[in-house]
Structures are given as structure tokens and as C-alpha cells.
Symmetry: C2
Subunit: 209 residues, 2 copies
DNA sequence: ACCTGAACACCGTTCAAGT
DNA sequence: ACCTGAACACCGTTCAAGT
């Protein structure tokens, strides 16, 4: 046993460690060799879990970041793949928690959680701009938003357009915040959240009247 | 004269060529060496115009993409720097064209132009997520949006919050569109524009009631 | 099945040198 | 002032080999 073979390598461990490096040194600071070092493994071992290399790892990170289970801090299970995942008890708990609220509170609760998740992994935000992996989480989000908007009285094209407006607003609101957060005139997080909710309420109001 | 020295190198030529490469091969396909080849120059010549290297070039690209003059297809002058640029006649013409419209049409005209610009350079969209260069164009946008919202009756915190909601919505709406455009369920551009305007109208309505 | 280690082509950047 | 060309450290990825 001359090697530092760590035997515990998995897709999720790799993704989590990659996100750790991204958080610390930025997306440009993530290299396969550095990732291997952090995992106490030769860089080439990563290719056994992501045969298509760094691009596939990026896709997996994008899927991971946009998967709801992550935000709950309950990400010890399997990591999300490009393929769909079977539902987990945890995710169902999350949605039941919210199931009996009025439509606008359901959307607001989802939006706040999504925003938190994106902010937590803000270093990976630029990965999301060109990747929309098919995940179960994405389908659930679509269903949640469309059902809520229908409950609010929307129908026809307005449902899918309203849903995209909300998805776009959340993505862009976080993007705008992250974009400006290294500037001297950047608002504190409390004010950033207040602005997010202000715009969200306005959008919801405008969509449903 | 043994070299391929092209003598016409400038910051703007470099930026434009870089955006061309990004459009063709993606952000990851842009390397200093490839950029040098496209400019018919040794890669190291670029460092004379961007002494701090690729990161500085990325910042300049981000500034360029978010500068209004570009969208008019009138970008033959000097490129935007990280520092402010003096106003140009072209930009003034643009704003006068719009100056006498009602506030909501001013915002909508700006938003459509901004969206077009971001879509034109969508390959560089992820560069914007972590860069907010101080440009004259940004100050003008801020002024335009805030003045329009005040004219609509907003005051106090609502002005800056409404302004950020609009900036976030535009960025995110384009981001959401680009994100999904390689998927089979992606809407055509006409529908994408319709969705953008639908959400924008809703947001404007909600902000001002 | 899972990981190593050498190898290859490519990359960003520095620096001394050329004009 | 502006560009070249060699050099260096680092990178992604392939592949044969080890266990």
C-alpha cells in the first residue's frame, strides 16, 4: 500500500469538494489536479466517476446546485446526476410542509429557498447560465409554480409565461446581487433580501391582476 | 520584416475578436494563444494592451457587453475601459430619441435594447455574473430607471428597489432563456420575447400600483 | 471496479530581446 | 511604444498498468 488511495471516492464527494474549492478560489481556481489533491487522490481517479471529464463535472455541479435537497443541508445521500433521481422522503417532507399554504406564500417560500441556495453556491452561478440539466427538482419547481399561478387565476399562455418570469427574476436577482457584491455601494444582505422580496411581491401582484 | 506583426492592435480589436471566438467556441474556447492567432499576432502582444492578463480582458469584455453603444452596431470607436468614458454623440442621440416618451415606454425601450445586447453576446453572459464594472453606461441606466420610476410615483427606498428588480429581471430573463436554449422544449425567439415582455409588464404594473 | 503514473498537447504569464 | 520568442509552471485528458 504505497498509494494515498482513499477508496471512498464518489460522485457526491467529488461535487462537494469541487464546490468547496469554487467557494474558496473561484470557478477559475478549480482544476482537476487541485480537486484530486483535495480528495487525496490522483486527479485521474476523478475520470472514473466522470468519464467525460470536466464538462461533465460542471454539469453535475449545476444539477447539484439547483437541487432542492441541497439547501436543507441534508446532502449526505447520493448526489444528483444528469439523469433523474427517484424521489426521496426528504424532498417530500419539504413540499408537504408548504402544501397547504395559499398560492402566493407557496411561491414566496420557494423563491426564498431558491435564492438562499443560489447565494450559498454563488461561485457556481456562472455555470448555471449555460446549463439546464433535467432534474426531478426542476420538474417539481415547474409544477409548483404553474399550479400556484393557476390557483391565482392564470390560464393558457400566462401560466408558462408567469412561471418563466418568476424563474428569471429569481436567477437574475441573485445574479445582480452577486455581480455587485464586491463594490463599495453594495447593499448588506438584509437590504438585498428586502429588495428581492420587494420585487417578488411586485411581480406576483402584476402577474395576477 | 519577418514577423506577422499586425501593427493595428488595440483594446477594442482584441475585445471584438475575443467575443467572436466566444460566440464560435464558447467562453472555454477562448485562450490567449488562440486570440493571438485570430489577431495575427503573438499571444504575448495582448499583454501590452491588457497588462494584467486574461482577468483584465474578461473585465473589459464585461464592460463592453454592458455598454449601450455596442448594441447600436456602432462600436468602431474606442472600446470601453474599466474607467469611465466621456459621453459620445451617439449615446446622446440614443437617449434623446427616447427622452419624451412616457416613463413605462422609456423603461420598456431600455429593457428590450438591454435584452438584445445580452442575447447578442450570450456566450459572455457568465462573465457578467461576477463583474460589475463602473461604466458610464451603467450610471446612465441607473439614472434612466430611477427617473422613470420616480415619474411613475415611487419614492424613497422603492426607487432603488424597483430599479434593482428591473435590472435583476432583465439579467435573469435572458439568463433563463440562454440556459434552456439547447433543450428540446426551448421556446422560439418570438415566444421568448413575448415571455420577456409579459413579465416586464407585470413587474412594471406591480411596482407602480 | 477503481486508482496510479507517465505522457502529450495545450494553457497563462514572465522576461529579455528586438524594432 | 509595441511586438517577438523562448522559457516555466500548470492544465485537461489518454492510456497502459497496477490492485
Amino acid at each position: 500500500m504505497v498509494s494515498r488511495n482513499n477508496a471512498g471516492l464518489s460522485r457526491e464527494r467529488i461535487i462537494v469538494e469541487a464546490l468547496h474549492i469554487i467557494a474558496g478560489r473561484g470557478l477559475g481556481g478549480l482544476s482537476m489536479r487541485r480537486l484530486g489533491d483535495a480528495l487525496e487522490v490522483e486527479a485521474m481517479a476523478i475520470y472514473h466517476h466522470f468519464p467525460k471529464g470536466k464538462e461533465q463535472l460542471f454539469n453535475a455541479i449545476a444539477a447539484y446546485v439547483t437541487t432542492a435537497r441541497v439547501v436543507s443541508g441534508l446532502a449526505e445521500g447520493e448526489g444528483p446526476e444528469e439523469e433523474e433521481l427517484p424521489a426521496t422522503g426528504i424532498e417530500q417532507e419539504d413540499s408537504e410542509q408548504v402544501e397547504n399554504l395559499p398560492w402566493d406564500q407557496r411561491i414566496t417560500a420557494w423563491a426564498e429557498a431558491y435564492r438562499t441556495r443560489l447565494l450559498t453556491y454563488s461561485g457556481a452561478l456562472s455555470l448555471l447560465m449555460h446549463r439546464a440539466p433535467h432534474t426531478l427538482a426542476e420538474k417539481r419547481t415547474t409544477a409548483l409554480l404553474e399550479a400556484a399561478l393557476e390557483e391565482a387565476g392564470l390560464s393558457g399562455d400566462a401560466v408558462v409565461r408567469g412561471r418563466d418570469a418568476l424563474l428569471g427574476y429569481c436567477l437574475g436577482s441573485v445574479g445582480h446581487q452577486v455581480r455587485y457584491e464586491d463594490r463599495e455601494d453594495a447593499p448588506a444582505e438584509a437590504e438585498a433580501l428586502a429588495r428581492f422580496l420587494f420585487g417578488l411581491r411586485a411581480l406576483l401582484h402584476g402577474l395576477t391582476r
